[in-house]
């Protein structure tokens, strides 16, 4: 292929310096409009209060945007940060980047935790975070050469922007030679992100064995749309100096021994625990189906016999086995499985062999069971096109499930969908919606706006009942739900809807603790869990770590510990590797406190941008209980029992409608009581606003934060 002619628009040379104890002590700022590039120092305050990763992102964004900044305003930023532990090759799951921006779906900061090699390479190139602001007036790429210490902004006349091709071409272009592809990583979006809010960013890593660019997604909240609105085709980083001590840790030996202990645990335990090395997170499919938790037909049901077609063993047949499939070096959990030599049967790449990353559980459930698509190869095809087009598989699944239910109810028909037959299970229609998103035409563009905007459009244009759409539209704050049924777990209803960025399960996954094992029966128990776990999980985002090695592998004696749900030995591992890299003191309590400061800062940031109050924390009823009669009837025994035992009402002789009304009132009241308990535990007012006293007590009482609180109280 001919070499692309690029014009150099700006160049900035910087001093190469070693990372010290996990930090560079500087960030990179680029104004894409003026093409100005500069370094910003990292202050002691930033490290003490915000730690790194998501903390740095939010701190930089707070000072970059205004109170009324919209997603497509020039001052909106895309921040990508890495955290002090990011890039170590010793402890599994240590290569994450955290991306934040003001989301086109929610209007508030969204944060995504993403693998791939970009984050560690960008960090070791010299920066603790990258801050992109402004809009370019022509298509550009930004290249960070961490070997030479040069940042370049160049024109990007590349015709192909879909990620699976663009990433590979840029790696070939910027690598010194074909033996050094692994030293280059690319961030890109795709054609779908040009037109759709439900978009993502792809972070690449070069797979030496497969000889392809693999893609990991910063999936939630529309990061890809903002990226393309700024006319960025790609970010490229090149760094070839990686070693096990590039973070310059203070105690390499402890770091290595702690990592080795976990490597050995995984080596011994994964094959009879979670099978992450064989199936990745798709191992959850049959487990969720068994427990009535797998979303089916837009979260109506959690279990169907047909779901056996999407069981993990079906995906295992497609995944290439016995490969070290870590998205960063040193991750022996190896969960990022791939389908090699997949041949799509639709769209622009029909008949071409491609490598598909995943499907992971969320994609298999969202693009499979939730749409009643039961052929795993169809799920793989949706996965492939979502990724390369820069579309979030989770929001895609939930949005298409929503329109399929609207179609089922006559709210949509072929006239309104441009001829698409949105019957449950119609994979061809789902493919076509996706291709329309990439082409920027037809009904696909409407679906690409996400569930919240579709609810408005269908009410306004088609006279749909807004209350029904509100009940079945699985979004909160504007973000689509990820793929777990929360109807029978009050704690998980809170875990989803109280999540700051919108209903994603990365703050809390409490279904087994709550629904299956009944370990948190009272409101206070649930509130404590909804305090601890979101704080603990926030910590991964501060450090540049992955959550999975925390509890998708457990020590053999974990069940005998005081608090098995917390996996105490692994918590102690994190304390040790933090100390070993940074040299700073930490215990399991201060770990939570580090998170609590940033978590509350993000909460105040949401309030500053006009969201984050109690009214924004209300779930659609589909997430809480049965919306339709068929849902009630399908689990009538369960619901009738609850009426009798929990509410004290005899279900005998009552109509379904009557029973549904009583159950709804009860469940919605339970949810409100839960919120009261959680807000209290978190140190917030009944309106969901952090109190000044609480912010003072955790050390997040910066003047700019208190100013927002005073306006919000």
């Amino acid at each position: 292929m001919n070499k692309i002619e690029r014009k150099l628009l700006a160049e900035y040379r910087y001093e190469l310096r070693p990372v010290v104890k996990g930090y560079n002590r500087r960030t990179l700022y680029i104004d894409l409009g003026t093409k100005s590039i500069k370094e910003k120092p990292v202050s002691d305050l930033m490290i003490d209060k915000f730690v790194g990763g998501k903390g740095f992102d939010l701190y930089l964004m707070w000072h970059g945007v205004k109170d009324n900044t919209k997603w497509n305003d020039p001052e909106n930023e895309i921040c990508i940060s890495f955290g002090p532990l990011c890039g170590n090759t010793n402890y599994p799951g240590s290569g994450k980047s955290i991306v934040t921006t003001i989301s086109p779906l929610t209007g508030i900061p969204v944060d995504c935790n993403v693998g791939g090699h970009f984050g560690p390479y960008a960090k070791f190139s010299g920066f603790d975070a990258i801050e992109l602001q402004g809009k370019a007036d022509e298509e550009i790429i930004v290249c960070i050469d961490g070997d030479e210490g040069i940042i370049r902004i160049m024109t990007a006349p590349d015709e192909e922007i879909n990620s699976h091709i663009l990433a590979e071409r840029l790696i070939e272009e910027f690598a010194d030679n074909s033996e050094k592809h692994q030293f280059v990583s690319v961030v890109s979006a795709g054609r779908g992100a040009d037109h759709c809010g439900i978009s993502c960013l792809n972070f690449s890593f070069w797979d030496k064995r497969r000889k392809v660019a693999r893609l990991k997604q910063a999936g939630r909240g529309g990061t890809g749309r903002v990226f393309r609105d700024k006319k960025i085709k790609a970010l490229v980083v090149k760094y070839s100096g990686l070693k096990g001590d590039t973070n310059n840790p203070v105690d390499l030996d402890t770091l290595r021994e702690t990592g080795l202990k976990l490597h050995r645990e995984i080596e011994k335990g994964d094959a009879h625990q979670c099978h992450m090395r064989e199936c990745g997170t798709a191992h959850l499919m049959e487990i969720m189906n068994d427990y009535d938790l797998l979303p089916i037909r837009n979260f109506k049901y959690g279990q169907m016999p047909e779901a056996i077609g999407l069981a993990s063993w079906e995906f295992k047949k497609l995944f290439t086995q016995n490969m070290p499939d870590g998205c960063w070096y040193g991750c022996s959990l190896s969960c990022c499985k791939a389908v090699d030599d997949f041949i799509p049967r639709s769209g622009p790449y029909t008949g071409q062999k491609v490598c598909v990353d995943g499907p992971e559980y969320e994609t298999a459930a969202g693009c499979g069971s939730n749409l009643c698509i039961w052929d795993p190869r169809d799920v793989v095809e949706l996965n492939f096109y979502c990724d390369t087009y820069g579309i979030d598989t989770i929001s895609f699944g939930t949005s298409v499930a929503f329109v399929m239910e609207c179609y089922e109810n006559g709210i949509l028909d072929k006239d309104k969908t441009g001829g698409l037959d949105l019957t449950w299970g119609n994979a061809d229609a789902a493919f076509e919606i996706l291709h329309q998103m990439a082409r920027g035409e037809g009904f696909g563009v409407i679906v690409g706006k996400g569930v919240r905007k579709m609810k408005e459009i269908f009410t306004r244009e088609y006279g749909a009942d807004p209350n029904f759409l509100h009940d079945i539209g699985m979004e909160a704050k504007g973000l689509e739900y990820s793929q777990y049924m929360s109807k029978e777990s009050l704690a998980q209803q809170g875990g989803y809807t109280l999540a700051l960025k919108g209903p994603q399960h990365d703050e809390a996954w409490l279904i087994f603790m709550d629904m299956v094992n009944n370990h948190i029966p009272t409101f206070e128990d649930k509130a404590e869990a909804l305090h601890y776990f979101p704080m603990f999980r926030t910590w991964f985002g501060l450090q540049g770590l992955c959550k999975l090695p925390w509890n998708d592998i457990e020590p053999e004696d974990n069940a005998q510990t005081d608090e098995p749900a917390k996996v105490p030995e692994h918590v102690q591992n994190y304390v040790q590797i933090y100390r070993a890299i940074t040299g700073k003191e930490l215990d399991k309590y201060e770990l939570i406190r580090q998170s609590e400061r940033v978590y509350n800062f993000q909460k105040v940031f949401c309030l500053r941008m006009g969201k984050g109050r109690r009214i924004d924390d209300i779930p659609p009823y589909r997430a809480v209980g049965p919306v339709t009669e068929e849902e009630y009837i399908s689990r009538a025994e369960r619901y009738d029992k609850q009426l009798k035992e929990k509410i004290g009402i005899d279900p005998g002789g009552r109509s379904i409608d009557e029973k549904m009304t009583i159950l709804r009132a009860y469940r919605e009241d339970q949810y409100q009581q839960l919120i009261d308990a959680v807000y209290k535990r978190k140190g917030w007012t009944p309106e969901g606003v952090p109190t000044i006293e609480h912010l003072q007590s955790i050390g997040m009482d910066l003047p700019e934060v208190i100013e927002v609180i005073k306006k919000s109280l």
């Binding site: 090759t89 010793n90 030496k208 070693k243 096990g244 001590d245 080795l260 080596e267 070290p324 022996s332």
Partner: protein, 128 residues
């Protein structure tokens, strides 16, 4: 073809001469913690732990720093190794070694120097 160091634990007398020979050649110091072969007491006799060139580590290495040479011996290319130690955990015979403060793992490359130091022929180089 596979060339490897075959052990006969029933003959071992626990003199540790093999460890001295190995670490002296490899690291220029007499230090059992830096030997590719490890001799440990096991009841009345001794366990002998050394690489049998099974290649499990080759499959585990994320950077392809471990490769098999024409004699069937697994070799480490330090320029590609990023020191993750996944190979150490993956080794079924605990024969991929590492030591405190050392970045790189290390292993037996069937050079045979230890065999010359063994007074009882408990270790021999074989080719299969």
């Amino acid at each position: 073809m596979k060339k490897y160091l075959k052990t006969h634990p029933d003959r071992c007398i626990g003199c540790h001469a093999c460890e001295s020979a190995c670490s002296t050649l490899y690291f220029k110091e007499d230090n059992a913690a830096k030997s590719c072969i490890r001799i440990t007491e096991a009841g009345a006799g001794f366990d002998m732990s050394v690489c049998n060139q099974c290649q499990a580590c080759v499959a585990a290495c994320p950077t392809q720093a471990l490769t098999v040479n024409h004699q069937g011996v697994v070799m480490l290319n330090k320029s590609l190794c990023i020191n993750c130690l996944m190979c150490v955990a993956a080794c079924p015979t605990n024969s991929m070694q590492h030591y405190k403060d050392g970045l790189y793992p290390f292993k037996c490359i069937a050079c045979g120097v230890c065999t010359k130091s063994c007074p009882v022929e408990a270790i021999v180089i074989v080719q299969e």
